[in-house]
Every structure is written in C-alpha cells, then in structure tokens.
C-alpha cells in the first residue's frame, strides 16, 4: 500500500462456548456427532417448543466480558434476527440487538518493532453478545439440493466485536492471537478454527492517512485460519488502494476469501437488502445480573495472559519476546512453568521449548497440550545435563529426538549410548594434533589471521569424537596449538 493511505480494520469473532448442552435446549453440544443426532423440538424450531437459557452459557459470556474489561450489562435481553435461510429452521436466529451481555472493553496486543522490542496497543471492544449458532449446509456431492445438519444449530456463540482500531493485517493477526489466548486461559472455548469453534469476519476500509472519515467498508468472510485472516486483509487493502488510485468506486459488499487462489471475490448477494427486523424475543424473559454476582465472577477469573506475561518477564528473566511467545499459548506456558518447577534453567528451558521441542511437535503433528512422550520432567533432565556440561548442545539435539521416540529420560539415553561429553583435555589434545596435521592449509589460514577458518577444524574434532567433545574446549585447544606453532 502506498504511504498516503491507511487501512481501518475491525474484526467480528464468533466463538463457540464450551458448554455440555446447547444454549436454549438440552441437546449435547459436542462436535462430531452423527448428522442431526443432537437435535430436539427446540433447536429444530418445532411448534409449541420453548427455549430456556443455559445458565452456564451466560456465565461464560460474562467471564469473557470481564476479561476484556467490558461493562457487564445489568439488564440483558435477547432479540430475534429474522432471515430466511435453511441453516436456521425457525427462520430467525435468537441473538442480542440493543442489550448485549457486555460492552465497551479493550484488548491489549503486543506489536514487534523492527528493533525486536514489543510495544503495547489497546484495541477497543465494542461489545460481546450471546446468540445461537446455525446449522451446517452441505453441497458437495449432493444432487439437486443441499443437505442440512442441525447439530450445530443452538450451540452457544459469543460474538465479540472490535472497534475499527486495527491498522494492518499484522495488528489483526496479533488481535486474534491475544483474544484466543484470553479465551483459552478462561477455558471457555476450544478456539479451534478448523473445527469452526472460532470464526472471524473482517471489516476493511482504507482512507487518506490521518483523514477522519472512514472509506467504504467491505466485509470479508470465509477465512479458516489466523494466517488466512492476515492474507485476506492484506489482499483487500491492496485491492482497495489500487481502486482508489485508478478512480474505481469501492462498493460496500461482502466478499469471500478464496484460500487456494489467494484472493477475495464478491459474494453473490440476495436481491433484497438485508432487513433483519429485530424485535425482542418473546419466548425468553429478560435477565438481570447483580453487582455482587459480577464481583464474584470477577474474583473467580484465573491469571490472564497479560498478567502472566508481566510475571514471566520478572520471575524468569527471559526476554519480552520469549515471554510473549510462551504466554500466547496457554499449554506452552504451562509446559514451560512445569519444566522450571522441575529445576530447569528458565532461559534454557524457554530456548529448548521454542526451538527443538516445537519443531518436533510440528513434525510429528502432536500437540503441546498432550505430550506423554516428553513430560516436562524429562526436558528439565536434559537441560540439567547440558547445563552441567555432561553433554554438548549438539548431542542434546539428538538426545531430545531419541527421548521423544522412546519416552526414556535423557540420563538413560546418555548412559546407554555413552554420549557423555569428552572433557578429557589429553584426549582432546591428541585429536586436535591429528586434525591440525591433516589440514595444514586451514591451520595456516587461521595462523594468518582468518579466525573463522577455525570452525572447520572444530567440526573435524567433533566428527572424530562423534560430537561428544565440548566445542568451547576444542576451540581453545586448537587456537592455543595453532598460534604456538608460529
């Protein structure tokens, strides 16, 4: 985007709340049941049935509101949003219009500067309201029609609407990371975008930098990962900037993201303008929450990501960025803390988790949430061996793979395979002599001042000792020997 424009982005996130049953009936809310198995007269909209609010759904919604610094409404009511589409059997969705569960909060996001430092930015939260999810339509492979599965109809959804405070795809991405972290810490949702328990729509417009009025806004849907949200917004900003530059009119519309083509396209819209004709849901009574209840709920909130981030920086002496990365994923931060409780050096634990361990988990497509192959105690054990010099970092990289595959502890593997680091100076000096003799040219280069050439010789010694030598010691021995041969 050229420098003269700035983008204005607001996000609408729909998150399924983790309840046992649906929001207005007793059908199970779990994912993956047989089609239409979790349905009943209420969520199928059969005549004579009445919805009754799930107490837990409201409680979880209020917890999210509190964690986002929102004001919890003392009066809450539900409204009907009327539209005809077969994903809702009643021809309306029970949602909230003018009296949502909570409003006027904010979410802090951390943005990484070019220099690598983190800066906080506050994004306003307009509101968070409860509604029922819709059913699922299946088109593929269906002849002359579409199939409908109403298992999802009536799952409690919380729609979290941000202010148009985001200014770049990266800010939108970080907003989602931070929001997901809060939801996970609260334990209110699985936040699984692939299974649809977290969905995100983006409103994007661009305007002259610093200009007060907003440009025409376009809504983008159909992104199924945080990366896709990032890419779709970047694409849309570019498309709108080009339109402005060529004098093409930007139409207010809904566009869908096509992941394989990497572009957005106009969603074929129904002819009549949307008119949802909201009105108060007559089948549900209003709700009121006392300030005592709200305070009790506030006290029940767990430590949230921002507080944990501050604590990590102070308590463990790790960098802001490392603390941020660990804290953003609750399971990762839990694993890290478990390692330190087992006596691991925090800095080393942070490094090993973020590099080797995450690489292994990604490779095996496992999850940090459930890691029987490598309990924190085992990683702490490995780190102890590195710290006290028993094995080199290089050997440790092989050991961690073996630990993962065999579920054995680092001590066991090191003992079995005889991997203990060679710190025997006499032995190392012998090997160093052999290596220098075999590579006179390289030795000469080192002597003539080309210091980095020593790396090759260190590598040769490592090779001869099967990686068991202490690299720092080899370096010192080689340097001493070569320079004394002048």
């Amino acid at each position: 985007m050229s420098d003269q424009y700035e983008s204005v982005i607001g996000l609408e996130v729909h998150v399924q709340l983790k309840t046992e049953s649906k929001i207005f009936c007793s059908c199970p809310a779990q994912f993956g049941a047989e089609p239409n198995q979790n349905t009943c007269p209420v969520c199928l909209g059969l005549p004579g049935s009445l919805p009754v609010l799930n107490e837990r759904a409201l409680e979880l919604a209020m917890k999210v509101g509190l964690a986002l610094g929102c004001r919890i409404s003392d009066r809450i009511k539900f409204d009907r949003k009327n539209y005809f589409y077969p994903d809702l059997p009643k021809a309306y969705q029970i949602s909230q219009y003018d009296m949502p569960v909570s409003s006027k909060g904010h979410l802090a996001i951390e943005l990484k500067s070019d220099a690598g430092t983190l800066a906080e930015k506050r994004i306003g939260i307009t509101r968070a309201h409860l509604e029922e999810d819709a059913g699922k339509l299946l088109h593929e492979g269906v002849r002359d029609g579409s199939w409908v599965d109403y298992n999802r109809a009536g799952i409690p959804l919380l729609e979290i609407v941000s202010e148009p405070d985001l200014r770049s795809p990266e800010e939108a991405f970080q907003y989602l990371v931070s929001l997901k972290a809060i939801l996970q810490y609260l334990g209110v949702s699985d936040c699984n975008m692939e299974e649809g328990s977290l969905r995100c729509d983006a409103n994007v417009s661009i305007r002259q930098k610093g200009a007060a009025p907003f440009g025409t806004k376009v809504e983008i849907k159909n992104m199924n990962s945080f990366r896709a949200v990032h890419k779709a917004i970047a694409y849309e900003i570019k498309r709108q900037s080009e339109a402005l530059e060529t004098g093409t009119r930007i139409v207010q519309e809904t566009r869908l993201w096509n992941e394989s083509k990497g572009e957005t396209f106009t969603m074929r819209s129904k002819e009549e303008a949307h008119d949802y004709r909201y009105f108060p849901e007559p089948d549900l009574v209003p709700f009121s929450v006392s300030s005592d209840q709200i305070e009790a709920l506030r006290k029940s909130l767990p430590e949230l990501p921002q507080a944990r981030f501050e604590r990590f920086r102070k308590q463990y002496g790790i960098s802001d960025y490392d603390a941020y990365v660990l804290v953003a994923e609750k399971a990762l931060a839990d694993y890290f803390e478990a390692c330190t409780r087992e006596g691991a050096n925090p800095k080393l634990a942070s490094n090993w988790i973020q590099s080797e361990l995450l690489a292994l988990i990604n490779l095996k497509k496992h999850s940090i949430k459930n890691l029987p192959n490598l309990p924190p105690k085992h990683l702490a054990g490995l780190i102890r061996l590195i710290e006290n010099g028993t094995i080199s970092g290089k050997i440790a990289k092989d050991v961690i793979v073996e630990m993962y595959d065999t579920k054995k502890s680092a001590e066991e593997i090191v003992k079995e395979k005889g991997l203990i680091q060679v710190t025997d100076t006499k032995l190392l000096e012998e090997v160093a002599d052999r290596v220098i003799q075999a590579n006179p040219k390289v030795a000469a280069e080192v002597r003539s001042g080309k210091a980095q050439a020593i790396g090759f010789l260190v590598g040769q010694v490592m090779k001869e000792t099967q990686g068991k030598a202490n690299p720092k010691m080899i370096n010192e021995i080689l340097t001493k020997k070569i320079t004394s041969q002048k």
């Binding site: 107490e55 837990r56 029609g145 008119d275 009574v285």
Partner: protein, 96 residues
C-alpha cells in the same frame, strides 16, 4: 402523519405471495393497526423505560445438562425431503 405501509416489501421479507385482493386488504388492516397504536404518540413516555416483555418475570434458566432427545428418525420422516440422516433443501450456495 402515518407513513404508508409498503406491503410489497413486507410480503417479500415474509416470503408471502399475495394475490392483489389479499394485498389490498392486508395493507388496509396493517394501516389500521398502525393508526390505532399511534395514539400512544400523544402521551409523553420520556421517563418510561422501554418494555420488552409484559410479564414481570426474569432470570429463568436451565442447568447446563445434556440429554439426547432421540427424535431424529421421527422428525426426518415428517420432513418434506430427507436423504440418509440429513434434511434436504433446494440448492442454496451463497457466493459460489
């Protein structure tokens, strides 16, 4: 002071195909209802909080307890169209 009812738009939103006679009658009825209700405009309601429900009941909850209703087969039998365990509707694809 009453705006005229746009009966065609209302019918379309409600997915009703009205015959001309029905259309005229309904438009007249609705206008009559609006005129009747508009008498309220004469009163000052500035200090009256909006009422969304007429009964003085609030906070009716159910516990979060899951139970299968097991009505799928019975309901599918009565659906206009079904295939396997799915309901079937005319093809609807938004955006394709």
């Amino acid at each position: 002071m009453l705006q005229k009812i746009n009966i065609d738009q209302i019918a379309e939103l409600a997915r009703l195909n009205l015959k001309p006679a029905e259309r005229d009658k309904l438009a007249k009825d609705l206008e009559g209802i609006l005129a009747y209700v508009s008498q309220l405009q004469e009163l000052s309601a500035d200090k009256v909080p909006p009422t969304s429900h007429v009964l003085p009941i609030e906070n009716v909850f159910r516990k979060d307890f899951a139970k299968l209703s097991d009505i799928r087969e019975a309901v599918l039998k009565h659906a206009p169209k079904c295939e396997g365990k799915f309901f079937k509707v005319p093809k609807v694809i938004e955006g394709a």
